[in-house]
């Protein structure tokens, strides 16, 4: 019997998972205006009006910048607590942190040398 | 006496490989050196195999000149060679036929045409090594290794230097035989892992002592399935009807020496395997299946003879006659009498000699006329009297004329199957019919080629026989007559071993089969 009960949770979870996203869709489908008009066909129904082509090309450097930024962003999350607890940590934790910094530096030097930081 | 120095068997086995290595270092252009190195190797091997025969103790049924080395000891696999009455004469046959095969290809047209002469002789020596290995090895895995290795050179011999449809024939040959042998691999792995060793004499001893047993209750129990695993591999090699369809293709497409070796030795690997492995390892299953196999053998005898008669292609005719002759050998084995098995062994030698001879003759005619069509010939006796006379002897030997070797084999086999306790008399009667059919198709073959008027212009000025052609035909004729008149020296070596083998398989019938000296005297 226990097995049935445990499985029941999954069933309930599934039902809720379907109902929650479906409900707002259903409600808006009921209340939405049926006929399209000029304002409705705009990209954004409110706010700024769009200008120009949607297919704007970004410079490829942008992505590389983005990636490197992300690396440092995540690095901070890990290094910050490490730095805070620095006084209470033993040699092992120090070594682990050092290894982590080495790997990041490794990647940074690589990116630097490959001219990833130049905005040419 | 194990492990002290090299056994003569090991020397005979590895000599072709020595020749192979020497040949590797001879430049491609030195055609003469290549040929004579190959021939020299095969002749020395032949001579040493004769020495082996001379040192062989015929009264001893056990393995002799044994040599064992470890290879994969933790799995019970090892290099284990030795000779006894069953394989000694097969080794001599192999070395003999190989010498003939190599000598006969000295001025073969295809080799000059397609080139790669060195590769050809390399494959010949590799094939010789593998074939001797199949006969002398006493370990299941190593046996399988040699068995499969024979495929590779034969595949290339047919595929590179064969006739028009050589690729088709080569691939068919390869796949057909591989399909059979890989089932055997499973069966032998099972036997070996159950027994804890792959050494055949030890397995047989275990079966005799009852420490290893494969239950047999009904036609499809463990022992039967293992039996079939081995049997199908051997049956494809022999070939037994209805598994023969690769044979005509391979024979017709192979170069002359390839056909000679195929008929002379390769087919015997199947029938040898039956005697060496099937009977002692699965005695009960062998007895249970004997009537069915004998039936297939008899069908093969009649079918092969019948189809052979209808051929217009010389090579195909000889190929189908092989199916018929090999049927006799299988019948003799599954008669399970010592006379029958001895007859089969001697008939293997006879068939190697006479069918090998036929293929040589066909090859020589083909070299001169570039056709294998029977209708293109007629009256050749007048153009080439020597070849005609030799052919007459070989044809008569093949059809079982008394006084020649074929008669000895077929007669002993029929005698053996008549005295068999596991087969009925009907098999013998129908098989005897096969001898009559053989006379018909063989004489038809001879008559259409050599007799009649020399009416075709192209046949009038055929070149005379070359020295090497005479050199290969003469030993064949000599042996055919020698065995026909004096079979005892050729049959005695297998006496003791076959006796003890039959005693193992059908313990209660050994005495029944003792027809007094019938096969051996004149």
């Amino acid at each position: 019997m226990t097995a049935v009960n445990e499985w029941a949770f999954i069933g309930i979870f599934l039902a809720v998972a379907w109902v929650l996203p479906a409900a707002p869709l259903l409600v808006s489908w009921i209340f939405r205006p049926r006929r399209a008009n000029a304002i409705k066909m705009q990209t954004y129904e409110c706010g700024v009006e769009t200008v120009g082509d949607t297919w704007v090309q970004f410079k490829v450097q942008y992505y590389i910048y983005g990636l490197i930024f992300l690396v440092f962003d995540v690095e901070l999350v890990l290094l910050f607590p490490w730095a805070l607890a620095y006084n209470q940590l033993d040699f092992f934790a120090f070594g682990a942190g050092l290894l982590f910094i080495f790997l990041l530096a490794d990647a940074l030097v690589y990116a630097w040398r490959k001219n990833a930081l130049e905005w040419a | 006496m194990e492990n002290t120095g090299l056994s003569l068997v090991t020397v005979v086995l590895f000599l072709p490989l020595v020749g192979f290595s020497i040949l590797l270092f001879i430049p491609d252009a030195q055609s003469r050196n290549i040929k004579y190195t190959a021939l020299g190797t095969s002749l020395v091997t032949f001579a040493l195999s004769l020495v082996m025969w001379a040192n062989f103790d015929a009264a001893n049924p056990a393995l002799q000149m044994v040599q064992r080395w470890e290879w994969l000891p933790q799995y019970g696999i090892g290099y284990y060679v030795g000779i006894d009455g069953l394989n000694m004469i097969m080794v001599v046959l192999t070395t003999f036929i190989m010498s003939i095969g190599i000598l006969s290809s000295f001025n073969a047209h295809v080799i000059q045409e397609r080139g790669r002469e060195k590769l050809y002789y390399l494959f010949m020596l590799l094939l010789q090594w593998a074939m001797i290995g199949v006969f002398v090895v006493q370990d299941l895995i190593i046996f399988y290794i040699f068995w499969e290795v024979t495929l590779v050179p034969m595949y290339f011999l047919v595929g590179i230097w064969g006739g028009e449809k050589r690729v088709y024939a080569a691939v068919k040959f390869f796949l057909y035989t591989m399909a059979g042998s890989i089932l055997m691999l499973l069966a032998l792995l099972y036997v070996g892992t159950q027994a804890g060793t792959f050494a055949v004499p030890e397995i047989i001893a275990g079966i005799q002592a009852g420490t290893i047993s494969f239950p047999l209750d009904g036609l499809f129990s463990t022992q039967s399935i293992l039996f079939l695993g081995f049997f199908i591999a051997f049956a494809i090699k022999v070939p037994i009807w209805p598994l023969h369809s690769w044979l005509p293709d391979a024979h017709v497409q192979a170069p002359t020496a390839g056909s000679v070796i195929l008929a002379g030795v390769l087919l015997k690997m199947g029938s040898y395997g039956m005697i060496r492995f099937l009977l002692p390892m699965f005695p009960e299953a062998s007895v249970a299946w004997a009537p069915i196999i004998a039936l297939l053998a008899v069908i093969g005898i009649i079918y092969g003879a019948w189809v052979s008669f209808a051929q217009t292609d010389m090579k195909k005719l000889v190929a189908y006659s092989s199916v018929s002759h090999m049927g006799f050998i299988v019948l003799g084995i599954f008669a399970m009498t010592s006379i029958g098995i001895q007859g089969s062994i001697i008939q293997m030698v006879n068939h190697g000699i006479s069918t090998g001879g036929l293929f040589l003759i066909v090859g020589m005619l083909y070299e001169r006329r570039h056709t294998k069509d029977l209708a293109a010939f007629g009256g050749i006796w007048k153009a080439m009297p020597l070849l005609g006379a030799i052919s007459l002897v070989v044809v008569l030997s093949s059809m079982g004329m008394p006084g020649l070797n074929g008669f000895i084999g077929e007669f002993t086999i029929l005698l053996g199957s008549m005295g068999s306790t596991v087969l009925g008399i009907g098999f013998t009667v129908v098989a005897a019919l096969g001898i009559i059919l053989a006379a018909i198709y063989m004489l038809n073959f001879f008559q259409r080629i050599f007799m009649g008027e020399l009416d075709k212009e192209e046949n009038k000025n055929l070149p005379k026989l070359e020295w090497n052609e005479i050199a290969v035909l003469v030993p064949i004729v000599v042996l055919a007559i020698w065995i026909g008149l004096q079979p005892a020296p050729f049959m005695n070596p297998s006496d003791a071993t076959v006796e003890s083998l039959v005693a193992q398989v059908v313990p209660d019938t050994t005495t029944v089969a003792q027809l007094p000296e019938a096969g051996q005297g004149e």
Partner: protein, 504 residues
């Protein structure tokens, strides 16, 4: 609460071969930046030197078993043999790559660094005794492989290969993680030994927990099944193998399999071998793995029949070979057979490594000489380049399982354990598909020797490069040596015992 380990408890020395490769890869990445473009051979030497060092180090510590990283990494004879094979693969493929990269103009130092990373990943996978380390190692193995597949970047098929491999690989990783999570949920641990200790009890209790454990094991199997290209998780293989640069194909067809099977054997044999319904019976996963093995052999071999491109054919053949190794894995599920089956699988993998690297070396040489790797490009090779063609014959024979080659020894051992495990039907599928495989391997030989080229192969056959020559020769030597003197490797594999590490 959290006991931080000291350097002694880490015992990194036991993992030295793998660690040295991973660390050196990081450093080499930087060193390479200052190596001028026309002297990239230096990078090759530095990478190869590291591999040789790791190889020797591995041999030296071969007999010393030990744990590193608190039981996450097990250095035993199993990982010892696996490391030898993996490092061998990496060495051969680096030598194979150098000329190729130069020829197609994608010579970049990162290539060798990525190869080193993959090597380290595969080595960690084979030695990982913890679900978490297995996952990390799998990623270390996979991600560089995605990059390597797309290394010939402007080439559209190479890009497609990289993309496809990345998407499906990520998908497979997700399965692996999910499966690991379920197993953790059921047993409360990620350590394989501890899983083994509690798995038996969980199954015996027959509660819903056992269901989670089984489901988790199944998902792990799916995840690793993707990596080793087992049917039905093989769909990516032919496209990726064909599109990737040829040396990469050679490398990943072996390295990814080695890593995948290393982990699979550890998870199933160490972690799950006690998962039986009744004591003394085969493990419950045996039938599942056996069915996968059967399907893999059938589909791999039959689809390979119709391939006209040798790279694609070898891709399907690698699927089929995964099936043969899976046979041994299935056999390992029978009580008392785990060690024998593992040894068989190891010998098979070594034989496959030599044979496959050799075959790809020949393919690279032919690609270079004749401009492609279709069956047609092999026509007349026997006349134009006899040595190359004869080598290819040996490799094809080895893949078929003809004796005197390593392939035969591998197959014989695998079939033997399968028979011992009582999986006769599986062994029969194995041999029948071997016959099928003979057809397409022999077809290569037919094209090389039995068909004559229409004259044109004589011109434009630049001699193949020394690197490729060396790899083909070494692979030939390995294949034949393993076939003639298998004791050389069984001396090592005989010491492998995976189950010994379970002490419940």
């Amino acid at each position: 609460m959290l006991q931080l380990p000291s350097l002694e408890t880490l015992n990194m020395g036991a993992a030295l071969p793998a660690i040295s490769i991973a660390a050196w890869a990081c450093i080499l990445l930087l060193i390479d930046l200052w190596i001028p473009k026309d002297r990239k051979i230096l990078t090759v030497y530095l990478a190869a030197g590291n591999l040789v060092f790791a190889f020797i180090a591995n041999l030296l510590v071969f007999n010393q078993s030990g744990d590193s990283f608190m039981g996450m990494y097990v250095a035993d004879q199993f990982s010892g043999v696996m490391n030898l094979i993996i490092i061998g693969t990496a060495l051969l493929s680096i030598v194979l790559s150098f000329d190729y990269l130069k020829r197609v103009g994608i010579e970049r130092g990162e290539y060798y660094v990525l190869v080193l990373f993959v090597t380290a990943g595969a080595m960690f996978m084979a030695a990982a005794n913890d679900l978490i380390l297995i996952f990390v190692a799998l990623e270390l193995l996979s991600i560089p492989l995605y990059v390597l597949s797309a290394f010939r970047a402007p080439d559209i098929r190479s890009e497609e290969a990289g993309m496809k491999y990345f998407l499906l690989g990520a998908f497979a990783s997700a399965f692996l993680v999910f499966g690991g999570a379920m197993v953790y949920g059921a047993t409360g641990t990620t350590n394989l030994n501890e899983i083994a200790a509690s798995a038996g009890m969980i199954i015996a209790s027959n509660s819903s927990t056992s269901l989670f454990l089984l489901l988790g094991a199944a998902l792990l199997l799916v995840g690793l099944g993707f990596k080793v290209a087992a049917v039905p998780f093989h769909e990516w293989t032919p496209d990726v193998y064909e599109g990737a640069p040829t040396p990469v194909t050679a490398f990943m067809s072996v390295a990814a399999k080695l890593g995948g099977f290393g982990s699979l054997l550890r998870i199933l044999v160490v972690g799950m071998s006690a998962v039986t319904m009744t004591a003394g019976e085969p493990a419950v996963w045996q039938n599942v793995v056996a069915i996968l093995a059967g399907l893999t052999m059938i589909v791999g071999n039959i689809v390979a029949l119709s391939q006209a491109n040798i790279k694609r054919m070898l891709a399907y053949s690698s699927i089929a070979n995964a099936g043969y190794i899976l046979m041994a894995v299935a056999a390992a599920g029978s009580p008392g057979l785990a060690n024998e089956a593992t040894r068989g699988a190891l010998v098979y993998m070594l034989a496959y490594m030599f044979t496959n690297m050799g075959a790809f070396a020949v393919v690279i040489a032919v690609e270079r000489a004749n401009g492609g790797a279709d069956l047609e490009h092999f026509v007349g090779l026997g006349k134009a380049r006899p040595m190359l063609a004869i080598m290819m014959v040996v490799f094809m024979m080895s893949l078929t399982g003809i004796p005197l080659t390593g392939g035969f020894i591998g197959k014989a051992l695998v079939f033997a354990t399968t028979l011992n495990a009582g999986l006769v039907w599986l062994a029969i599928i194995g041999v029948l598909t071997s016959v099928v495989s003979a057809y397409y391997y022999v077809r290569v030989i037919v094209n090389m020797f039995l068909r004559d080229a229409e004259a044109s192969t004589e011109e434009a056959t630049p001699g193949y490069s020394t690197g490729v020559q060396w790899v083909a020769a070494v692979a030939l030597g390995g294949t034949v040596l393993l076939g003639v003197l298998p004791t050389l490797i069984t001396v090592l594999t005989d010491r492998v015992s995976l189950v010994a590490s379970i002490t419940p």
